[in-house]
């Protein structure tokens, strides 16, 4: 058997490989550009918040954050509602021609194809709707991208709820809707939480569609704004690291606060 200290050594190594790069960015965000490029210090010798205040004062970071929060919230909520309804139908009804199975499977295929494949058509579609550079354009796109995922995940959660419970409620005089509301919904709630957590992370972090669908701070999301910023300030390492810290902070805090629900979503349900 491997010695215990070897195990701890490996764990220590893994943890430092994960954390060191992050540390380097966070440290840089508290340095001045001079300290970063000329002194190459390993930690900030004279920590400053200037980089952050500058981002909020002059660079629209408040806007980016607001846009991200609105777009993410609305689209994940819509996708979760639509997706749960659809998933319930697929999980509980048998449709003619095996339609239920086919629909489930085609939605999964849509999910599997990397989104970059439909980048151009979606851009042309939103362009035709005249919704470029608006919240609505992003919300429509993200809702659609999330719906396929929500149907897929919620279906597996609904299937885990025994059908007998609903049946019993309906025999006892509940309407179907009543049974759904009082029996199924509470039992599916943890699944809905797990599903939306993953959807929130993916949507908040999404960059590619935001890149082509937005062009001004009016609608730019956090990742889009961050990327634009560093395009312009190529060697302003201090602002760049501060932007990176700000860009990732909300979602990392969110992920930590909900981490026990996270793994199943990240693996598309492969791990329960």
């Amino acid at each position: 058997m491997t010695k215990l200290w070897v195990r701890y050594a490996v764990m220590g190594l893994v943890i430092s490989i994960v954390l060191l790069p992050i540390y380097w960015m966070v440290a840089a965000s508290f340095k001045t550009n001079k300290e970063i490029t000329q002194d190459a210090t390993l930690y900030p010798h004279a920590p400053t918040f200037d980089n952050f205040t500058r981002l909020f004062a002059a660079k629209d970071f408040g806007h980016f954050l607001l846009n991200s929060v609105v777009v993410t919230t609305v689209s994940v909520l819509l996708a979760l509602i639509f997706g749960s309804l659809g998933a319930y139908a697929i999980a509980r009804f048998r449709l003619p021609f095996g339609l239920d199975r086919h629909i489930g499977l085609s939605l999964l295929v849509m999910r599997i194809v990397p989104p970059v494949v439909i980048l151009i058509p979606v851009f042309l579609f939103i362009l035709r709707l005249n919704l470029i550079d608006s919240w609505l354009g992003l919300i429509i796109t993200y809702t659609a991208l999330n719906v396929t995922y929500c149907v897929w995940m919620m279906e597996s959660f609904f299937r885990e709820i025994p059908v007998d419970l609903e049946e019993a409620a309906m025999v006892d005089g509940d309407s179907r809707f009543g049974a759904f509301r009082r029996i199924v919904l509470p039992m599916a709630a943890p699944g809905m939480v797990a599903t939306s957590i993953f959807a929130i992370i993916v949507t908040f972090n999404e960059f590619m569609f935001a890149l082509v669908l937005t062009s001004t701070p009016r609608a730019m999301t956090m990742p889009r704004g961050t990327a634009t910023l560093i395009g312009r300030i190529d060697t302003d390492w201090a602002s760049m690291s501060a932007a990176g810290v700000l860009g990732a902070l909300p979602i990392v805090i969110f992920a930590f606060s909900v981490q026990r629900h996270l793994v199943r979503g990240l693996t598309l349900g492969a791990v329960k």
Binding site: V14, L85, I90, R92, M110, I120, I140, G247, V252
Partner: protein
């Protein structure tokens, strides 16, 4: 699939009830059809047209598709993408599996490590690219700082083709090995212990145990993890866009970046659409082959 067999349709009623499932499915299907399917078909149509400055000029049939396969830039992109996906996924699988085997028995601290390992996966990919630019930068980078601490000179990564490519693979390995680890760890922990115990009683050592028992039992979940990761890696965009923008030269220009540039920088919408359709077909083919392989493995 076994779940489908135990499905019950006792709840199915008549009349309005019969229409219920369709009503429930309607919102999802409408959104998907309007925003994903219709544009997809539109994209197929665009891929048979010749565009100049973003405007369709004339129908060219399958010319765009034919042209792709004699376009050195496309072929190079395809090569870069395949090498990137292969090296990243292989490294992630090996490292993730090794780490999972290492941690399969509970020791104090594992929980903490698992928590830390979530970070690379959830940090915004754009920010991951910033993190790595800050590591690789020849004037401000961590590698340079470390090298200087030990008396060396500055380290240049992103300016050289091979190093930039390796740097990109390293980024992907850093970001996604944790996912492999988590999936495979869950798989290991769900394995039945009896066969392993029996083999151990029979005197099998560590490696024997691994090759003859653990690996075969892990094959299905390994396959799922590899397929998921491969498909995802094919679509990598954000990290390259921010880290190298495809450069230097074409060293890290993945298909996704090449397609993006073709469409939005050079405005050759039709050609780019054909490229993405081709890319989608390649991925679908890979996925279908993988699923078939999976079924064969499961049937054994």
């Amino acid at each position: 699939m076994s779940k489908a067999l135990v499905r019950k349709d006792r709840l199915q009623g008549a009349g309005l009830d019969g229409a219920l499932p369709y009503l429930l499915l309607a919102p999802s299907l409408l959104v998907v059809m309007a925003v994903l399917l219709y544009p997809l078909i539109d994209g197929l149509r665009a891929s048979t047209k010749f565009y100049r400055y973003g405007k369709p000029l004339r129908d060219v049939g399958f010319d765009n598709y034919v042209q792709l396969w004699s376009d050195p830039q496309f072929l190079n992109s395809l090569m870069v993408t395949v090498s990137f996906v292969a090296s990243a996924v292989i490294l992630e699988t090996v490292l993730g599996f090794a780490l999972a085997l290492f941690c399969s028995r509970e020791i104090a601290g594992i929980r903490f490590m698992r928590t830390i390992l979530i970070i690379p996966m959830v940090v915004t990919p754009v920010v991951v690219a910033i993190v790595f630019r800050l590591i690789y930068a020849s004037d401000a980078g961590m590698l340079t700082a470390i090298s200087q601490t030990f008396g060396g000179g500055s380290v240049e990564i992103l300016g050289r083709p091979l190093r930039a490519f390796i740097g990109l693979v390293a980024l992907d390995v850093w970001e996604w090995t944790p996912l492999m680890f988590l999936i495979l760890l869950a798989g290991l922990q769900s394995l039945p212990v009896e066969p392993l115990e029996a083999a151990r009683v029979d005197g099998a050592g560590g490696w024997r145990l691994f090759w003859d028992h653990t690996l075969p039992m892990m094959r299905p979940i390994l396959a799922v993890a590899i397929v998921l990761r491969t498909i995802d890696a094919f679509g990598t965009f954000d990290q390259v866009f921010v880290l190298t923008r495809g450069g230097p030269g074409e060293a890290t220009r993945l298909l996704s970046i090449f397609g993006y540039d073709t469409a939005f920088k050079f405005q050759q919408t039709g050609y780019a659409a054909a490229l993405f359709v081709t890319m989608g077909l390649i991925i679908l083919a890979c996925a279908m082959a993988a699923v078939r392989l999976l079924k064969k493995v499961e049937a054994k």
